[in-house]
Subunit: 121 residues, 2 copies
């Protein structure tokens, strides 16, 4: 067992790509992923799982087909499984995603914005 | 589906007891619990699950029988299932626990420090 804490600030120093989740910890079969985001992502849904967003720095919006939720640092939100959503950030925002190992960032949409779901830093 | 973010600061305003986890969100069968801690907890283990600690404010230590890990705000650590541990905080510390729904705060130790594992705020 490692005795080193996972220090988010240190980990982010090694994350250069936007919209590319990096795993920093695993609890049972649940991954904790750091992501830098800016701009608009793609509309997608995760038919098999809920997805938890925790904002660490900055602010973001999660758009739904019939509304949106705005998140600031210190806020979290769980997108229920199957609900179509599109994350958006006007300025760079740093988030922690919590979701089952293997969850694809683009869900059912796939396409060119799909990033590997198994990269640790 | 709620469209309200979970705002940790607002939720903590309603948490008065120490060592009493309060559920603020659920992702699949995983609970996100806010806890105010100060002092020394009890030694215990969770034979059935890992347990993730994320420090939101302050600092804490997780002691093991053969060492310890110190966590500051912005750090996380996953205690593997079955590993005996004792959380300690010199000053009040605010943490986010992520663990399966129903996980008991005192694990296999039970006793008077056991808090309900199903209280939402």
């Amino acid at each position: 067992m490692s005795r080193e804490p996972v220090r988010f600030a240190d980990k982010f120093a090694a994350v250069h790509d936007l919209w590319s989740p990096r795993i920093v910890a695993r609890m049972n079969d649940i991954d904790f992923k750091l992501v830098r985001i800016r701009g608009e992502f793609v509309w997608h849904r995760h038919p098999e799982t809920d997805e938890a967003f925790i904002v660490l720095e900055g602010s973001m919006e999660i758009r739904f087909r019939d509304g949106a939720v705005r998140l600031e640092a210190g806020d979290m939100f769980v997108v229920p499984r199957g609900v179509e959503h599109c994350p958006v950030a006007r300025e760079e925002c740093r988030i922690l995603l919590v979701e089952p190992a293997g969850t694809r960032n683009t869900g059912d949409a796939a396409g060119e914005r799909t990033a590997p779901s198994d990269v640790w830093i």
